[in-house]
Symmetry: C2
Subunit: 315 residues, 2 copies
């Protein structure tokens, strides 16, 4: 199958929305600009066979995951996704049915969130499948929620549950788009990030870089408040060398939950409002932001500095 | 070197422009929307080691090429590029100096065209370096020049010279952005594409897909009018099995020139205007669009159907 034959087969699988002036098939896609008073969000993310999915993972779930990861980043800004482009790096002799399955997974999730797929590229990646997605979104001007903005005293919240994602959640998670928009719309959120590299890996991004004008702050986590996914508890029982559940919750990757901070006076309002808006989605206050740099874990054995960071590529 | 250390090293190399509200370093970049009366252009493209560049190609030229290919697509719409995101697939044990070199090449070309680099992603691609770039641009609403729109009788033009790109042009070409905008601004261009897969491979995209409402048309090329790059002539002399220069000009890939059509009554105006605006850039009228489907080559030996298509991946 040539590149052109493959593209003809995939083109009918690309969802369109009223935003699309000219979709896939020209040198570039042409899209309507955002409505006045909005800004653009722009994000790219890639998944690679053997790392983010396996050779025998169902193709629909692979395509779904590739897009869901980007959607999670739009959620963490409080934005609305609009249009994506997709690059597939394909080994020679790839199975076109597998590629079509990936696109079916992409399409289903894109349609569920009114995202157009407006183009793409297929290229040769001889040794394994790679999917790179770039996503556009919109957010009311000046209202994007950033990673910076946490203040000492802020309450720290996380949605959903953490850990054990490898047992299925990393493929099937629901990006927290409605939740992210609701949080941003509350006007109470000081800082927000999506947890993709483990709580221990991503929380530091909310604690300042030490750059001029951005002092490094810290966080105290209440061990018993950290919501642990059932799969992380089951995983801990599976072998003697498995991570304890709390370690899995802190350091496993790919939770794709929202981690955010609010002023302490707003913590109860956020919790109450959340329970009305999202009765089925857990929200936990897991600690607070402090002046003292570092991440500290408060448990029965007292307060200890957290050792270990979430998953990092290349280590 | 961890992912985070690499990103800290690359971040100072990312050019910003006034369009950037929040650049790389958050979950998404935040960009000002295009000015009223404009639409967005959106494009993605990837280059892969061993296919689009070699392991020993200077990293600056690799980075430059990765962005230049996308810029060429914006040029072919008559648009202006604004902001890019970059994904690097890196083998474990990669050389950080090579990655920094790639970013230096990206930055130099981005700055030359006022393009911001607003984010990126590094991921593991075990066997070879892969660079995927997504690019945004703007174009006056309704003024993007499409691939569709050629009419029988149209004169067919190509910028620059064709063939032999492998000898250096594929790394060092100048994307025809100013030229593309000038052509779109003339209001005379019926259809346009950038020649990336060889003239023989890309011309068919201007000739209709046969979809309902889009009849298939054809083209007659005047063999002697096709501008042949010197490298293609030299390449033809290098071995008995090398392509003849005209074949190289028709079927070699990666010319990144603009191929476009205008009504016959406008052909002289376009040529005259072009020579004033771009005295150093060749522009050749190489044939015409016809009712008869297919591509026909007119030479001393009469009119023959063209055999062979430009470079296709996977064949």
């Amino acid at each position: 199958m040539t590149e052109f034959e493959l593209i003809s087969r995939l083109k009918p699988l690309l969802p369109r929305t009223p935003l699309v002036v000219h979709g896939a098939g020209d040198d570039c896609a042409v899209l309507s600009a955002p409505l006045p008073g909005n800004e653009l969000l722009f994000k790219t993310d890639a998944v690679v066979e053997g790392f983010h999915f396996l050779a025998d993972t169902e193709p629909e779930r692979v395509g779904r995951k590739a897009l869901a990861r980007c959607l999670s980043d739009i959620a963490a800004m409080g934005g609305t996704p609009t249009a994506a482009v997709v690059t597939l790096g394909l080994p020679p002799g790839y199975n076109p049915d597998r590629v079509e399955g990936i696109y079916r997974g992409l399409r289903a999730l894109a349609e569920a969130h009114d995202v157009a797929i407006v183009g793409g590229e297929t290229t040769t990646n001889p040794d394994r499948l790679l999917i790179s997605i770039s996503l556009l979104g919109t957010v009311a001007a000046g209202r994007a929620v950033l990673r910076t903005g946490a203040r000492p005293g802020d309450a720290l919240f996380v949605t959903g549950e953490l850990g054990g994602s490898i047992h299925g959640h990393h493929l099937d998670f629901e990006p927290r788009l409605r939740e992210g928009r609701w949080l941003a719309g509350s006007g109470m959120i000081h800082s927000m990030i999506d947890v993709s590299d483990g709580l221990a890996g991503d929380l530091p991004h909310l604690l300042g870089s030490g750059a001029p004008g951005e002092p490094v702050i810290g966080a105290e986590l209440l061990k018993s408040a950290i919501p642990i996914r059932r799969a992380a508890r089951l995983g801990a029982r599976s072998s003697d060398s498995a991570k304890p559940p709390i370690v899995a919750a802190l350091t496993d990757g790919e939770d794709f939950e929202l981690l955010f901070t609010v002023a302490p006076r707003d913590a109860v309002d956020i919790l109450d409002g959340w329970r009305s808006a999202f009765p089925d989605v857990p929200l936990a206050c897991i600690g607070k932001i402090t002046d003292r740099p570092g991440i500290w874990l408060c448990g029965e054995d007292g307060m200890r500095p957290m050792i270990g960071k979430g998953y990092e590529h290349f280590r």
